[in-house]
């Protein structure tokens, strides 16, 4: 079960399990982001490379105009995976 909620133009909430079968659903929301945006991981239990690829492509697109994604409430397991992928160098993880 995965859900993504666009709370406002600058805040996204992720819930559940973002695996490859849910990546398209996540992408549909992230392509709408046009300015610096906070992504709340409070209720996200799991993410794989498919979801991480969407975050990466969004960050690349936003950075062209000086904007970015910022992550909050990232659990330890996801934080570890982000570190292995080098995400801690390209995203602000609060």
């Amino acid at each position: 079960m995965f859900d993504i909620i666009l709370r406002s133009k600058t805040e996204i909430l992720l819930k559940g399990r973002l695996d490859a079968s849910q990546a398209e659903k996540a992408k549909e929301t992230f392509v709408k982001v046009a300015e610096t945006c906070v992504v709340d991981f409070q209720d996200l239990e799991y993410i794989s490379s498919a979801g991480m690829g969407i975050l990466l492509m969004t960050q690349k697109r936003l950075s062209e105009k000086g904007n970015s994604l910022k992550f909050i409430n990232v659990n330890k397991h996801i934080r570890d995976i982000f570190r292995y992928a080098g995400f801690d160098r390209i995203f602000e993880i609060i």
Partner: protein, 137 residues
């Protein structure tokens, strides 16, 4: 434990249920549970992505032996695809040069202690070993 899964992305829910059953049986901790799900998903989706011509189902095996978890993915009627020989991903590249491709296999390689690949009669078998520490169970 061993189970056969249909060759499509819709099998992931069933695969996660299968992994959960294994994790519960052996009381594996949350950190390794997360990693095991990631390893299996990445290999399964990689197989679907890079072997689109095969119509055969995919076998996933999970086994715990002493302080090791052994993961085995068997894929039939496929071309050889040896993940041990895939190019690594440079995670230190600046954002502008980063690509999403290859990240899944990079993570798999990071998370396991050994990978063995065999190919015979158009069948690929990937066997991965993850060594557990005392805190993991």
């Amino acid at each position: 434990m061993n189970k056969i899964f249909k060759r499509n992305i819709g099998s992931l829910d069933e695969i996660f249920d299968f992994i959960a059953e294994f994790l519960t049986a052996y009381r594996i901790n949350d950190q390794v549970s997360f990693q095991l799900k990631l390893i299996v998903e990445e290999l399964f989706t990689n197989t679907i992505k890079y072997q689109p011509s095969s119509k055969k189902d995919i076998s996933i095996g999970l086994e715990k032996a002493d302080n090791r978890i052994i993961i085995r993915i068997v894929d039939s009627d496929v071309e050889p695809f040896d993940i041990t020989r895939t190019a690594g991903v440079d995670v230190n590249k600046p954002l502008g040069e980063k690509r999403a491709g290859g990240l899944g296999i990079h993570l798999v390689k990071y998370l396991v202690d050994n990978i063995d690949y065999t190919y015979k009669d158009r069948q690929s078998t990937i066997t991965l070993t993850k060594i557990l520490e005392q805190k993991d169970v």
